[in-house]
């Protein structure tokens, strides 16, 4: 049938040639598409397909474990409570209204009003020094427990989940996997294809070490490959809070978008979680506020020690009294 001369073709051979090319192209396209769904190595999916798989089963990267924030950035605003001086809102694209609210920050008033957790809400919690314990609460809910402020965030992968009527400090987070390998599932702890030796993670920590492309090409030399997929999280429905301990605000109208990446294992065995955060707030910000925060995987949760929401008062500022060579 296909080899019957088609209208407009000079001969049967030309028609055959074009048909063959179409078939080859279709096959190539189809194979690539399937491969992309399966991942680079074309490993078969678990379950019936994306629609029927749980988030946990579809996840190509393992984020579970206890992660500690390593504060190498914004140290002066994160590790201590910064003073209300000219640098109080530095780096943050605050609007005029946001600046006014920040200038009016009163720690005592917050404490008296029971608002101690304003600096530990969804817009500020990732920047608090602390540890995060990540686990699957159920097959479609990733639980993030923070020892700083004893907070819990639930990342809902279930598209049918609905936000609660009442606003909370952490709001409602809708999550989904994105990137290559989604639907393939994460390699379990101790998977020899992950670690190259059946060990519990490259650095002896849980979580699989994040390396090894299942069914795909082996890593070059020391393996340190993960699929590079991430979790996209969009959070709304939270109470007004602080981006910083010193009262730089975000409003209830804000939308927080985050990308959770588990980085390829560092050569020394360290595993890093990178959380990229965009806060869009039509009220208190003049443009999206973009940060990226680094967490290192710990061997266990022995150092995970919940503490209540509490902000220390700023240390006093002492301006230099003796002249310096530049004065």
């Amino acid at each position: 049938m296909l080899l019957q001369p088609l209208r407009g073709f000079r001969c049967r051979a030309e028609a055959a040639c074009i048909c063959a090319a179409v078939i080859v192209a279709l096959v190539a396209f189809g194979r690539s598409d399937v491969a992309a769904q399966r991942g680079a190595g074309g490993a078969p999916q678990r379950g019936g397909g994306p629609g029927t798989q749980t988030a946990r089963a579809r996840g190509p990267v393992d984020f579970t474990g206890t992660w500690v924030s390593v504060v190498t950035e914004d140290w002066r605003w994160r590790m201590v409570t910064p003073p209300k001086d000219a640098s109080a809102t530095a780096s943050i694209p605050v609007s005029g209204e946001g600046r006014k609210v920040a200038a009016a920050w009163d720690l005592d008033a917050d404490n008296k009003a029971g608002n101690q957790c304003k600096a530990f809400g969804a817009g500020g919690i990732m920047r608090q020094p602390g540890r995060i314990r990540i686990s699957w609460q159920d097959d479609n809910t990733l639980k993030l427990e923070f020892d700083a402020g004893t907070q819990t965030r639930l990342l809902q992968f279930d598209r049918n989940a609905q936000p609660p009527a009442e606003k909370t400090w952490q709001g409602f987070s809708r999550a989904d996997w994105e990137g290559p390998g989604v639907g393939r599932g994460a390699a379990p702890v101790g998977d020899s294809r992950v670690t190259g030796g059946g060990l519990p993670g490259a650095s002896g920590v849980p979580g699989g070490g994040g390396q090894g492309l299942r069914g795909g090409p082996p890593p070059r030399g020391q393996g340190r490959i993960n699929t590079g997929a991430d979790i996209k999280v969009v959070t709304t429905g939270f109470r007004e809070g602080y981006l910083r301990k010193n009262g730089v605000p975000y409003s209830e109208q804000a939308v927080i978008t985050e990308y959770f990446h588990r980085l390829p294992t560092h050569p020394n065995g360290d595993n890093w979680l990178e959380v990229i955060t965009l806060v869009e707030d039509p009220r208190y910000l003049s443009q999206p506020y973009t940060t990226s925060t680094n967490f290192r995987l710990e061997a266990n949760d022995a150092l995970f020690k919940p503490t209540p929401c509490q902000t220390a008062p700023p240390l006093p500022v002492k301006l230099p009294t003796k002249p310096t060579p530049l004065q």
Partner: protein, 588 residues
């Protein structure tokens, strides 16, 4: 009509079939400064080391830092090195270089508006260069995909700073980057490993937004200028305990001074002032794949590598050997150690198979430079048919006679003046004798057309310079000799690197920036020891004060022919003898 449609379908399908799913980073990107903005754009305040897992050596370096260092002529136009480049104000352009026939990605190319730097990220699986290769501001980078994350490893980075206010970064640092893209946002994580100045890898992350409209600020036309009459070779710094800015940053911003001093322990939650330094984690700086680190020569391997123009460098034979090749024959600077000559001659044969060795120059008398004199001289031939002539300062010959070195190994073409020059291979060859550098026997050779300097041991990248007062060496003489090299060296336009290349007595091929950092070190250590000598401190007290602490991790040694203790002692002995350094006003 049908035929056209079907062909179009073929084209569309073939084009649409994804050959790979990798993210594209091609485009123009501009920095977002929503973290540490006061540090990254206006500039850090002196004495702020917060957030850095630095060690005591780095603190000492930072405490000595004077912002006036930027006014030193050779520093005025110096670009940031890679570990700082993306932290500071920056915009860059990325494009792909693909193999024409297969369209495989060979490299990602970057042009950085800040300092007009160029960067290549090789994606073709190649290994990193050997350890004797030149270092650049952007280093040598290789990349690989981890799904949608591009992971880049960079070595061969010049010495620079993690912060512009003097938190040092050594030339032994390795930087791993992870690039991620979400829409028009590029996130870049940098993890710097630096065994000289960091106790553990230093992680930072930055964001860049794709520019919708091309910004026109892509040029950096820097031209250094003497703005205030001052000693050209002044190196501003603070002596230990005399930096008035220490403590100011913490008090001005209401921060605990212990935290502002940095350190790995200060980066973790729960840190409190007074906390003990974090114990080092095992193998925290290790684990790199061999192909991601500078390769080393195999035991006994001797190799000739091109430097520039007509000049090559032979490595692995003791001291580095410079070889100039041309129509007139071969000129060799230094001869390597005894027992390596056969391999050295084979290496020379490899680069100049039909040429005779006509001349040799000894830059000093030490055996790692002159051990091969006899064998290489005999292998060569002057135009008159004699063995190749050996040129050296007359003090070398005198020292060899005193040491009983046989005539066949000694230089007979000696000179006693400050300069000797002659043409060879259509190129001026200039020999300069610094009166009292490491010893009173040193020579520096410049190939003026090739634009290469063979520095001898006046400059080396593997240890502190020898200062041997018993052989006529002085501290100031070493500094003067380094300044002589700096006076001859001119970096390339815009990049501020390359240009004149310097072959060190030992170590990797260098340029002006590498020498100026070495010179700065020598001046700073001299000033510290001079201050201690003036305070009548004993040698033991000086050693205990560790005046070279900030450089020990890079150039120091506890064993071997030239230890840190010997270096300190050499300078102490020299400065205690009453010879006054010429530029003592470099310290505030």
């Amino acid at each position: 009509m049908t035929r056209s449609l079907l062909w179009a379908l073929v084209v569309v399908l073939v084009a649409a079939a994804p050959s790979s799913a990798q993210v594209s980073f091609v485009g123009d990107w501009s920095g977002r400064y929503h973290e540490d903005q006061p540090d990254r754009v206006p500039g850090e305040e002196p004495g702020d080391f917060s957030g850095i897992p630095l060690n005591d050596a780095a603190r000492r370096f930072g405490d000595a830092w004077d912002v006036a260092r930027h006014s030193v002529l050779e520093h005025q136009c110096a670009p940031y090195t890679l570990p700082y480049m993306f932290f500071g104000p920056n915009q860059f352009r990325i494009w792909e270089e693909r193999q024409p026939d297969t369209q495989e990605l060979v490299a990602l190319q970057m042009y950085l508006g800040t300092y007009q730097q160029r960067r290549t990220i090789w994606m073709d699986g190649r290994s990193h260069p050997p350890e004797y290769a030149p270092h650049t501001y952007m280093g040598f980078s290789t990349g690989e995909w981890n799904g949608d994350i591009l992971t880049i490893t960079t070595t061969h980075i010049k010495a620079g700073y993690y912060r512009r206010t003097g938190v040092p970064q050594s030339d032994r640092s390795t930087v791993v980057e992870h690039w991620m893209r979400h829409g028009n946002l590029l996130s870049q994580v940098t993890i710097a490993t630096d065994p000289v100045y960091l106790t553990e890898p230093y992680i930072r992350s930055q964001e860049f937004a794709m520019m919708d409209r091309n910004n026109t600020n892509w040029l950096y036309n820097c031209e250094y200028a003497m703005e205030i009459p001052t000693d050209k070779n002044e190196v501003p710094h603070f002596l230990p305990g005399q930096n008035p800015f220490i403590g100011e940053f913490s008090s001005r911003h209401g921060m605990p001074e212990g935290g502002v001093r940095g350190g790995a322990e200060t980066l973790l939650p729960g840190w409190q002032p007074g906390a003990k330094p974090a114990p080092p984690r095992p193998n925290v700086n290790g684990g790199f794949r061999a192909e991601d680190q500078p390769s080393k020569l195999a035991a006994g391997e001797v190799k000739a590598v091109p430097v520039q123009g007509n000049v090559y460098m032979i490595v692995g034979a003791g001291a580095n050997i410079a070889v100039q090749v041309g129509q007139d024959g071969v000129l060799v600077v230094d001869a390597g150690s005894t027992g390596t000559s056969e391999k050295v001659l084979a290496a020379i044969k490899g680069i100049a198979p039909d040429k005779e060795i006509r001349w040799m120059v000894n830059t000093t008398f030490r055996p790692d430079h002159t051990g091969g004199n006899e064998a290489i001289s005999k292998a060569g031939r002057t135009v008159n048919g004699n063995t190749a002539d050996i040129i050296a300062h007359e003090n070398v010959a005198a020292r060899m006679i005193k040491a009983g070195v046989p005539d066949s190994s000694r230089p007979f073409k000696t000179y006693f003046e400050e300069n000797r020059d002659f043409p060879f291979n259509n190129e001026p060859v200039l020999i300069f004798h610094p009166a009292s550098a490491n010893t009173d026997m040193e020579s520096i050779v410049m190939f003026r057309r090739s634009d290469v300097i063979a520095a001898g041991d006046v400059y080396r990248t593997d240890s502190f310079p020898l200062v041997d007062p018993d052989s006529g060496g002085t501290t100031q003489g070493v500094i003067d000799a380094l300044n002589y090299i700096l006076a001859q060296a001119v970096p390339s336009k815009n990049l501020e690197e390359g240009g004149t290349y310097v072959i060190p007595g030992h170590g990797y091929i260098s340029d002006e920036h590498d020498v100026v950092m070495y010179r700065d070190m020598m001046v700073i250590i001299r000033d510290r020891i001079k201050d201690m000598v003036d305070k009548k401190m004993t040698l033991e007290q000086v050693k205990a004060a560790r005046p070279a602490l900030d450089y020990e991790g890079r150039y120091g040694a506890e064993t071997g022919p030239w230890t840190t203790a010997m270096f300190i002692e050499g300078i102490y002995k020299d400065l205690s003898a009453g010879r006054k350094p010429a530029a003592t006003r470099s310290a505030r």
